[in-house]
């Protein structure tokens, strides 16, 4: 009888001991359910560029991102041009995160001797849980580009402002899963001075792109800009004659502080007005440029007071 009693006490005590830890855990879970924390989607893409154009990502506050991008010649030019590798155009750029929502950047391209500067602002961030969660992220990007090639006709009265063009984009993105993200990029490009008399000054385009992660550090990306048949001035075309829509496919390879982006694209330039509206290569006829973007981040300002 005594033995039975002891066994019972031990059994129940043991049982309860196990149960008690789970019980305490339940206590914690119930408590955390009460105050649901907002969970923002992070790392929708690996870097602030999808391929040619912007992705929804910003660099974080206080972080400097040095970007060096190359586009080689067209691969269908054969072995004489070493499949395009004999030529290259290049853009060097610096991006900086002013806050976690706002980044700015500028760059210099060899193509048309362009300078460009932009800001990108996160309007809405994809999140779940908590109040006011959103299924998508939205950012706004505006770029100003300055072409500094010598005047085609120096005898004519030339204005400095004629060199300037603008691109305004909205980026609407969603991270569907750990490995799949998509984004749409409605875009508007304005030339202060159009090339030809009947060329449009204002061009509208809709971009689409996404990524599929192949492994933790490797992703497949694609990006396409479709020029929309919208013309603001009667009698003008809606696109520059002879241009094609920009197509790009590529891979992001991430190694610590670096991201390498390797791509194939029919666009030569790396600024918004050039790749969206001035692409002349026909992707499906092999007018494809091999290229890469190299990104290296430096933390300029450490986050002294870590967020709680």
């Amino acid at each position: 009888m005594k033995k039975l009693f002891l066994a019972l006490v031990l059994l129940t005590a043991f049982g309860i001991k196990l149960y008690a830890q789970d019980d305490l855990m339940k206590m914690l879970e119930e408590d955390s359910k009460k105050e649901k924390k907002k969970d923002y989607a992070t790392a929708t893409f690996k870097t602030s560029r999808l391929i040619n154009g912007h992705s929804i990502e910003n660099v974080a506050a206080g972080v400097l991102d040095v970007k060096i991008s190359h586009r080689f010649g067209m691969v269908n030019r054969g072995s004489y041009e070493f499949f395009g590798l004999d030529q290259a155009t290049m853009r060097m750029g610096l991006d900086y995160g002013i806050s976690n929502r706002l980044m700015v950047g500028f760059g210099r391209s060899t193509f048309q001797k362009q300078y460009d500067a932009f800001y990108k602002f996160k309007i809405l961030r994809q999140s779940k849980g908590g109040r006011g969660s959103s299924p998508i992220s939205i950012s706004a990007v505006s770029t100003v580009m300055l072409k500094t090639l010598k005047w085609e006709d120096p005898k004519r009265q030339n204005y400095y402002t004629s060199r300037v063009s603008y691109a305004h984009q909205l980026i609407i993105a969603r991270k569907f899963s750990e490995s799949v993200s998509f984004q749409l990029m409605p875009s508007f490009i304005h030339y202060n001075l159009a090339q030809g008399a009947t060329d449009p000054n204002d061009i509208f385009a809709l971009g689409g792109g996404g990524r599929i992660k192949l492994s933790k550090r490797l992703s497949f990306n694609f990006e396409y800009y479709h020029i929309l048949p919208i013309s603001l001035v009667a009698g003008e075309g809606y696109r520059i004659p002879g241009t094609k829509n920009s197509i790009a496919v590529g891979f992001d390879i991430e190694t610590g502080g670096h991201v390498f982006q390797l791509q194939f694209t029919n666009s030569t330039g790396m600024t918004e007005k050039t790749f969206i509206t001035e692409t002349t290569g026909d992707f499906f006829k092999g007018d494809i440029h091999f290229g890469f973007n190299l990104s290296r981040v430096f933390t300029i300002k450490n986050r002294k007071s870590k967020k709680h």
């Binding site: 039975l4 009693f5 001991k17 914690l28």
Partner: protein, 184 residues
């Protein structure tokens, strides 16, 4: 027979009855540090750790949102979540265990008492038995617990690519610092 069962149940339930012995925190601190010879410090703090301690049985549980670990460098934090602990797949890390020598701690007397904690640590979807030395400090009715221990990333299936192997060490030092308050 009935009496025995009833009394047995009574005794055991009496041990766990009442909230007098349940202490809790939601602002506990857990930090980790990788000891590699790296120019970049790999360390992070989490100040939103919740934990419950039963001072009678010594049972102790922790629940940690992995995403709440904050690094000095934003990119390091992103990589930590994306590539190493995969925090969207395994958002929570938990510890379920107990202070094995709880009887040596006198909760009614101020002082610092050395303790040993044993239990199951779940991280990156892997549960592993861990044991660590630490201390419990009682001061004016408030209880705080401190411990420092080491885990091996390999044990929790967190792999380090060879490219950054010299920057992140296989052993990670973990510091736990929690100040508990009586749960109302």
């Amino acid at each position: 027979m009935k009496k025995i069962i009833i009394s047995a149940l009574f005794i055991t339930s009496a041990i766990f009855a009442g909230a007098q012995n349940i202490y809790m925190t939601k602002t506990g601190k857990v930090s980790f540090y990788s000891r590699a010879k790296s120019p970049e410090k790999v360390e992070a703090d989490n100040n939103e750790v919740s934990s419950v301690l039963n001072t009678q049985t010594g049972d102790m549980v922790f629940a940690i949102l992995v995403k709440s670990f904050h690094f000095e460098r934003a990119l390091m934090e992103e990589h930590f979540n994306e590539n190493y602990v995969e925090s969207s797949k395994y958002p929570k890390s938990t510890f379920k265990g107990s202070i094995t020598n709880i009887s040596t701690v006198n909760f009614s007397k101020d002082g610092t008492y050395p303790v040993t904690v044993e239990g199951d640590l779940t991280l990156h979807g892997v549960t592993k038995k861990v044991s660590s030395k630490g201390s419990v400090t009682v001061k004016a009715g408030k209880i705080s617990a401190y411990s420092k221990f080491e885990i091996k990333l390999k044990d929790f299936n967190v792999s380090i690519p060879s490219l950054v192997a010299d920057k992140i060490s296989e052993e990670i030092d973990i510091t736990v610092d929690c100040k508990y308050e009586l749960k109302s």
